[in-house]
């Protein structure tokens, strides 16, 4: 029997769960097809399908899905509602499955995480395994293995990122969703510019561990978005060690529009708020980053 081919769009959830998915699906004997890195063409394709008010990251996502159409048996589109009442996600993540299922005709593979209503991640993955025609025990085992492996990889990444905090160069903490910073179309140029300017940039996402969420309540007690909570928790935790903060977001991100604004008003660290949309050219970004780093260098001296 041929292996089941599962397509994974390289956008949004991919950057959070790639390690988890990879081990899980491979252990269940599936082949994974990941769409290639974002290019201009991906975005163009996404824009054709998407509604023009959707956020840039979602347009890119739809572009990736459209690439995978007809190249695989299933496309993996999870629905992640919340990890508890105070750890919700953006409404795009809630609606994603239904948006994709109405825009494309391809068969979709999905799981639903809604811990406020007792739908935990493990349950969701067991159901996913069952949907692929595997047994319950096999799915649990695969889930636990992949979770362990993911944890190990996360710790390694965190260690590497912590080393950067000891550097002598100006240290810049980047507060951005991984699907923005790590996406080649959005984040790659920024990373390159920072490297040329000899700035040690620290990816806030990699610094997260189990204490981070508690720290975020000091900055914003009522925040209820999981991903934003984790990110701003890192500010609170490492504010002594960094010289500046870069807020990187796409236009028009819902949670970021409020949370970043609040952070900018509350923190007393030099910061730059960078909003990327379809039309932002790299020259404009470069100028802004350069002048920001100049100011940063003067204040730290």
């Amino acid at each position: 029997m041929d292996k089941i081919k599962i397509g994974i769009p390289r956008a949004l959830h991919y950057y959070y769960y790639k390690d988890l998915w990879k081990t899980f699906l491979e252990e269940l004997g599936c082949t994974i097809i990941i769409s290639p890195e974002t290019t201009n063409e991906t975005l163009e394709r996404g824009k054709k399908i998407a509604n023009d008010e959707m956020c840039l990251s979602l347009k890119i996502y739809l572009g990736h899905v459209s690439y995978l159409e007809s190249r695989c048996d299933y496309i993996l589109v999870p629905r992640i509602d919340n990890y508890g009442t105070y750890e919700q996600t953006c409404t795009n993540f809630l609606g994603l499955f239904d948006i994709v299922s109405n825009l494309f005709t391809n068969k979709l593979l999905t799981y639903n995480i809604d811990e406020a209503h007792h739908q935990t991640e493990q349950n969701a993955f067991i159901k996913l395994g069952l949907a692929l025609g595997k047994g319950k025990e096999q799915s649990i085992l695969a889930y636990q293995n992949s979770k362990q492996k993911e944890e190990k990889q996360r710790k390694q990444k965190r260690k590497n990122e912590m080393k950067k905090l000891e550097s002598n160069n100006p240290k810049l903490l980047i507060i951005s969703h991984p699907y923005n910073l790590e996406d080649p179309y959005i984040g790659k140029t920024i990373k390159e510019i920072l490297k040329n300017l000899q700035v040690e940039y620290i990816n806030g996402e990699y610094l997260i561990d189990h204490k981070t969420i508690q720290n975020s309540t000091k900055l914003s007690p009522n925040l209820y978005w999981k991903y934003n909570k984790e990110l701003i928790g890192t500010i609170e935790e490492w504010k002594q060690k960094i010289d500046g903060i870069l807020f990187l977001t796409t236009f028009p991100c819902g949670p970021d529009s409020l949370v970043n604004e609040l952070m900018i008003r509350k923190i007393k660290i030099p910061h730059l708020n960078l909003i990327i949309d379809e039309e932002s050219g790299s020259a404009g970004i470069e100028t802004r980053l350069e002048s920001f780093i100049d100011i940063l260098g003067q204040t730290t001296k």
Binding site: G95, I99, P221, G254, L262
Partner: protein
């Protein structure tokens, strides 16, 4: 928000001893102030509410109460309080809803903080009257919406409604309220209308704030009424507070061929309503929202598909502070002409 300031004022003025300042109706100035101090791409209700708050503070308010949750609404309060603080206003802002859930204990605590002599019995008593009042108001509004386009003497519905709201403010008991409601219901039914047999019927769905605050949608409903269109609208406060949790399951079940999960705020509800409107034979659907309303943007592709399947025209309006009223008017007129033409064609086909 719209006329709901009346029941809100009624409730608060009876349960706490603080002075209540009624929000002024929204004007261009409100929006200007709100926009000036808001982040760049936040959804429009944020700007409206911030503007209203600043105007209220200028009138002497120092405690502000807000209720909202489901999407970005739930997080408004924290940022708005910070913005007001940065502007030098010393105010306390309470949000009654946290993370999309209503916690009775927390509300009690907040009320105690606002007025240490707050009594829970009084709260329950006047709360129940307010609940009934909102429901009655919404019933009457429903009737008005379906008929206001066909009134013979212009403005008679509006006039009677203002009178009713004024009377509602002074009730103290359930019996009095019920009597008033019955009296006004009869009076509304007495207003003469000339409703033709075949009118164009339009359903309005969309994001809750833009739907309920007439200023934020350039009084769309009034414009439609002046075109002699019968309107049906689902979202009102009694729906959001008392019916949503039951209705949503039903909507999800009815639309299972399109969606499987809730999509945040009222998105899934709107999809259910759109299907209902299609089946009930409405001539067209208008979907309105404020710019950048993420849940509704997610619902839009699904809505398009539903309406395409049932062959019912749908038009999308996105309201921002910069949206030109003339542009909306033109698109609305074109939409209306198209509906009228469809209606005529239908008749011709059925006659043949």
């Amino acid at each position: 928000m719209g006329d709901y300031a009346v029941p809100a004022h009624f409730l608060l003025s009876h349960i706490v001893r603080n002075k209540i300042i009624k929000p002024k109706p929204i004007t261009t100035k409100t929006i200007e102030i709100g926009t000036k101090y808001s982040p760049e791409f936040v959804c429009t209700p944020f700007k409206y509410t911030l503007g209203t708050m600043i105007e209220g503070i200028e009138e002497g308010a120092n405690i502000l109460i807000q209720a909202g949750g489901g999407c970005r609404y739930g997080y408004y309060a924290e940022l708005q309080e910070q913005i007001l603080k940065d502007l030098g206003y010393n105010v306390k802002l309470y949000n009654l809803v946290t993370a999309g859930t209503t916690d009775i204990k927390r509300i009690y605590k907040i009320m105690k903080e606002i007025d240490p002599k707050f009594s829970i019995l009084k709260g329950i008593y006047y709360g129940s009257i307010t609940k009934k009042m909102i429901q009655y108001m919404d019933h009457i509004d429903h009737y008005i919406r379906a008929n206001i386009g066909f009134e013979i003497e212009k403005g008679s519905f509006q006039k009677l409604k203002w009178q009713m709201l004024k009377d509602f403010e002074n009730v103290k008991t359930h019996t009095k309220l019920r009597r008033l409601y019955k009296k006004y219901k009869k009076e509304f039914q007495k207003i003469k209308t000339n409703k033709p047999n075949k009118t164009i019927k339009i359903g309005i769905i969309g994001e809750l704030y833009t739907i309920m605050e007439p200023y934020s949608n350039y009084e769309l409903e009034r414009t439609l009424a002046s075109m002699n269109i019968e309107i049906k609208r689902y979202t009102d406060v009694s729906y959001l507070l008392f019916q949503k949790h039951k209705k949503i399951k039903q909507y999800l079940k009815n639309t299972s061929e399109y969606i499987t999960y809730q999509m945040g705020a009222d998105a899934a509800d709107n999809i259910g309503r759109a299907k209902e409107l299609c089946i009930e034979g409405y001539d067209g659907i208008i979907h309105i929202k404020s710019s950048f309303c993420t849940p509704e943007i997610g619902a839009m592709p699904v809505l398009t598909k539903v309406c395409a399947d049932y062959q019912v025209p749908i038009i999308f309006f996105s309201f921002d502070i910069n949206t030109s009223e003339v542009g909306i008017q033109t698109r609305l007129e074109a939409f209306y002409d198209m509906l009228e033409m469809r209606k005529k064609n239908e008749k011709r086909i059925s006659r043949n």
